[in-house]
Amino acid sequence: MFVRIADGEGKRVVVLIDDAPFEGRQGDSVATVLLLAGKVGCRRSFVSGEPRGPYCMMGVCFECLVRVDGIDGLQACMIPIRPKMRIETSIARA
């Protein structure tokens, strides 16, 4: 699990992760809220179907691909969250 250390007073931003509301903070990336929500695995490998999740957090590895507001294959670590954003992992969909 990942936790937010009590620091700062970031503005609260509520997103939907696989239809469940989750409260993140302004400045969090989609991958950050996935890790905070305990979704360390967020997709399945295209080849073997093995679970994969955020690995590099800086746009290099392409492991954290998710569907955001209906658009597939986006790098979760590169997208800042916005209010009411719909985040769908492919592990939940399978």
């Binding site: 699990m1 990942f2 936790v3 937010r4 250390i5 620091d7 700062g8 007073e9 970031g10 903070r25 400045g27 969090d28 990336s29 950050t32 890790l35 905070l36 360390v40 695995g41 967020c42 490998s45 295209f46 080849v47 073997s48 093995e50 679970p51 994969r52 999740g53 955020p54 690995y55 590099c56 957090m57 800086m58 746009g59 290099v60 590895c61 392409f62 492991e63 691909l65 658009i71 294959g73 670590c77 590169m78 800042p80």
Partner: protein, 479 residues
């Protein structure tokens, strides 16, 4: 700095286009803008700072305290860049930088091609691949990834987690996470036991460098608080849906395991040269850093006219050197575009070069002491080399056995190795070193993957919506 909110705000032409808003990009922009050049900085992150100063502009005080001076020292450069008249577009992925000085830029799902008179690539570095069994399991992240979480969101791993590998960043992160109150259960140190002896030749330069006192203090502080298991020669992450255990071995001793919720891996960084290689810049193999360095002259100029590289993108030197090399690129741009004469450029560059020489003194020891062991730079038979296409070490060696001399690009055709969405970022170095070892030649003789634009995936719709010129239409439409 004029922060642009959308891609349409970009001008069609700039004097200088800089890719990357880390220390080298910000410094290059400050230097060029000081001579009234029309500058744009394009960066794919949501804010300036690059990886080293990620989130710094908005980080609350207690987070800054936790991350320490290597982080907060960036404030000065950020303020300097913010005072310039440069345009800055965040969230902008540059997927092309062509020898004819065109830049393909994508932001919020839309693309444009802009032009510039000079391009400065300030794309920094990314972490080396670390191919061990189980490195694709959810819950296995890089140390850099955990540091990103700490910098941008004040988020830390909870429960049982271990760090494994080698390199300055691993020790720095260990101390930062300690100040957050979250201690790892262990550090599995893969630095070869003989390495520090070998590196002794470079020790005098290191001891007299500014890195030395900080490094000694850091390693003492961390070693006193976290169990450090040295001389690790084998690592494997194990688990089903996520990592639950890390197994390690030290030489001939029996293997041991530690239960973990997270495993954080790191074995140094390598230049992020995707754009420069795809543009066609000449590269050479660096034996001391075991990675590719685009060739540059003392002004950062590559083999392609008017394209320069600033900072770690041409070889790992660290953030402080990166900002100086960025300034050199900016000064050179001002000279090449007729704002200052070569004499004035050289005069302004002299103090920067003295600082660069001073920083370089300590660097050689760091390179030697922390070069990851060969055993961790190549993959064992069962280990995934290409994470995207799931190609294992065995498949590569078998193909080399059956087909003789073969290069990285043939591996693509035979195995799809390196052809997934990461476009070889997580396997190129491993593949080159495995082929070199198998053929008994230098990696320089093997070469690397041929990279093509777009270097990051963009949608067909984005491509299709690019404005077409008459020549483009003529190429595909029968008239």
């Amino acid at each position: 700095m004029r922060q642009l909110s959308k891609i349409d705000d970009l001008k069609p032409v700039y004097d200088v286009a800089i890719v990357g808003a880390g220390p080298s990009g910000m410094a290059a922009a400050a230097a060029a803008a000081a001579y009234d050049l029309d500058v744009v900085v394009l960066d794919e992150n949501p804010d300036i700072g690059g990886q080293i100063y990620r989130g710094l502009r908005t980080a609350p005080l207690d987070r800054c305290r936790m991350l320490g001076p290597t982080y907060t020292t960036g404030h000065q450069l950020i303020r300097e860049f913010a005072r310039t008249q440069s345009d800055y577009l965040p969230g902008a992925v540059v997927w092309m930088a062509s020898p004819s000085l065109e830049l393909g830029v994508s932001a919020s799902g839309r693309s444009r091609v802009i032009r510039s008179r000079r391009i400065i690539l300030a794309t920094g570095a990314f972490e080396r691949p670390f191919p061990i069994p189980g490195w694709t399991l959810p819950g296995v992240l890089t140390v850099g990834a955990a540091q990103c979480l700490l910098k941008s969101s004040g988020v830390a791993p909870m429960g049982r987690f271990a760090l494994a590998g080698t390199g300055p960043l691993l020790w720095l992160f260990a101390s930062q996470i300690l100040s957050s109150g979250h201690a790892p259960v262990a550090i599995l140190d893969t630095t070869p036991r003989s390495r520090h002896l070998w590196a002794n030749a470079a020790l005098p330069g290191f001891v007299t460098s500014k890195y030395f006192p900080a490094a000694v203090k850091l390693i003492r502080h961390v070693s006193a608080k976290i169990p450090v298991i040295r001389g690790v020669t084998m690592l494997a992450a194990e688990g089903r849906a996520a990592v639950s255990r890390v197994t390690y071995r030290r030489g001939e001793r029996p293997s041991q395991s530690i239960d973990v919720d997270h495993l954080l891996l790191h074995q140094g960084v390598a230049p992020n040269a995707q754009l420069s290689i795809a543009a066609g810049c000449a590269i050479r193999w660096s034996e001391s850093q075991a990675c590719w360095h685009p060739g540059i002259d003392p002004w950062g100029e590559t083999s392609i006219e008017s394209i320069s590289i600033a900072g770690d993108g041409a070889g790992i030197l660290g953030a402080e050197s990166a900002s100086r090399s960025g300034r050199l690129c900016g000064l050179n741009a001002a000279c090449k575009l007729g704002r200052i004469d070569p004499l004035a450029r050289d005069r302004a560059a002299a103090p920067l070069r003295r600082e660069l020489a001073r920083f370089a003194r300590g660097r050689r020891y760091i390179d030697m002491a922390f070069l990851p062991d060969r055993a961790f730079r190549v993959a064992s038979a069962d280990t995934l080399v290409c994470r995207c296409e799931e190609i294992r070490g065995r498949q590569i060696t078998e193909l080399l056995d059956t087909h003789g001399a073969i290069g990285p690009n043939q591996l693509k055709s035979f195995l799809r190795c390196g052809m997934g969405p990461c476009q070889g970022r997580e396997c190129a170095l491993t593949v080159t070193e495995m082929i070199a070892a198998h053929r008994g030649v230098s990696p320089a003789a093997v070469g690397s993957y041929r990279l093509r634009f777009p270097i990051k995936p963009i949608t067909v719709a984005e491509f299709a919506s690019l404005p077409q010129e008459h020549a483009d239409l003529h190429a595909v439409v029968r008239m």
